[in-house]
Amino acid sequence: MKRVGVLALQGAVREHAQSLEACGAKAVLVKWPSDLEDLDALILPGGESTTMRRLIDRYGLIDPLRKFAESGKPMFGTCAGLILLAKEIAGYPEAHLGVMDIIVERNSFGRQAESFEAPLSIKGIETPFEAVFIRAPHIVSAGPGIEVLSEHGGKIVMARSSQFLGCSFHPELTDDHRITAYFLSMIPSETGISLPKSSVYSKV
């Protein structure tokens, strides 16, 4: 069973965990650096990015999270999580994890009164996905290794690389688990490529 962490400092943690379980994965809540061990992938949920960043710094999570990204394991950020992943945040001097080659803009659809839901066409997902946008960011520009998966009103709202998946909206607020399943499919399959752990074989 795939073990997928959900950064559990604040925000829509329960919803992501439930969605993972509904897709047959094991959800692991991540509050401390040691919780990152033995995970196959990690989700950074929606919430308040400034709050999460403060708690990330306070509890020494920034380097372990960046190391997790360096290990090549898939990471998925929704809304605030997307902001945490981005290499650059428009109007701010510093990024958070700064690992996904995109520039994001915070609150770019406006305040809560401009929050909305809308059906989205998403590449790789067959029928429209009912997406919930809450004080949402958007992706201003994406680097060469990034594939745009969805746009809304001319703004990029979902994109991926081979390792990272990010979206402006909150798939965790709906009962539609297709995006979680899509993310799980980014985890390399355990069959076929895995080698026995015993060092005996390496000497053969």
């Binding site: 559990a8 400092l9 604040q10 925000g11 829509a12 943690v13 329960r14 919803e15 509050k31 929606g46 919430g47 308040e48 400034t50 709050t51 403060r54 708690l55 306070r58 809304c79 605030a80 915070r106 609150n107 305040r111 809560q112 009164a113 401009e114 929050s115 909305f116 839901e117 809308a118 059906p119 919930v132 946008f133 809450i134 004080r135 009103g153 909150h170 607020l173 709906t174």
Partner: protein, 294 residues
């Protein structure tokens, strides 16, 4: 087609606040302190509850200048309070673009009989409750988030504990009732039958429920999380303490790590003096804010 102000959008905004601390602030400087400490939102108001209690008189919606100043100062969501039943204060706050309105018993009620019909607004509302019936009525009117009332401005956690325990005990009871017992329970609580069916199906309230009214220390915040709150509102507890920055940070961290008792011990060291509290029995019945609304 984009849809605005739907239940999912309004309730979803509160979901994003979970595990967080929402702090009362009266100016831009306090708002910036709250944001830097890790608050998930700020509540802009003219006076914190303990000052309202001390000053007496009629407490109203804050001067829009204050709310505007706070909205400009921070990037996190800004909430603001309207009087219970004051349609125009609520519409004014909505027009100003605040992210959430608290139809609050901390202010002097404008209507002693009717709460706002919150379904009619695009902006979401949070309301206070002391029990499941009150929670049901507020959700029925369209509240997208709840907070247990406690007794605001006292720095005394006892009423917050009472109300959260009451709501959660009633939720647990509803979950155990058989379908043919639900209607009688609905009548007893003053809740709709449909609402209780939903609570039974979900096993919890259908919206986020924070604790409020008396949180003064990191341990108080952690206690409310332990009892099942989704997050906490801190009113006077931060900016009426000796060192607001320290209290704000420690309360945020204790809320996240509410079962890490060694950490809470560390967080609670050398914070300075907490806000001065009030023993509830010394407050005249007519001055208890929790009795406002129904």
């Amino acid at each position: 087609m984009s849809k605005y102000g739907t239940d999912r959008v309004k309730r979803g905004m509160a979901e994003m606040q979970k595990g967080g601390v929402i702090m009362d602030v009266v100016n831009a400087e306090q708002a910036r302190i709250a944001e830097a400490a890790g608050a998930t939102a700020v509540m802009a108001l003219e006076r914190v509850p303990s000052d309202i209690r001390r000053d007496g008189g009629v407490a109203r919606m804050a001067d829009p200048r204050i709310t505007e100043e706070v909205m400009k100062a921070v990037s996190i969501p800004v909430m603001a309070k309207a009087r219970i039943g004051h349609i125009v204060e609520a519409r004014v706050l909505e027009a100003m673009g605040v992210d959430y309105i608290d139809e609050s018993e901390v202010l002097t009620p404008a209507d002693e009989e009717f709460h706002l019909l919150k379904d009619a607004y695009t902006v979401p509302f949070v309301c206070g409750c002391r029990n499941l019936g009150e929670a049901a009525r507020r959700i029925g009117e369209g509240a997208s988030m709840l907070r247990t009332k406690g007794e605001p401005g006292t720095g005394n956690i006892v009423e917050a504990v009472r109300h959260l325990r009451q709501v959660n005990a009633e939720v647990r009871k509803v979950v155990t009732l058989s379908d043919d017992e639900l209607m009688t329970e609905a009548r007893n609580l003053g809740a709709s039958y449909e609402f209780l069916k939903e609570v039974k199906r979900l096993g919890r309230l259908p919206v986020v429920n924070f604790a409020a009214g008396g949180v003064a220390t990191p341990a108080d915040a952690a206690l409310m999380m332990e009892l099942g709150a989704d997050g906490v509102f801190v009113g006077s507890g931060i900016f009426k303490s000796e060192h607001p920055e320290r209290f704000a940070r420690a309360i945020v961290e204790a809320t996240t790590h509410y079962q890490d008792y060694k950490l809470i011990a560390e967080l609670s060291k050398d914070l300075g003096i907490a806000m001065k509290g009030i023993e509830i029995s010394t407050i005249a019945a007519g001055e208890r804010m929790q009795e406002r609304g129904w």
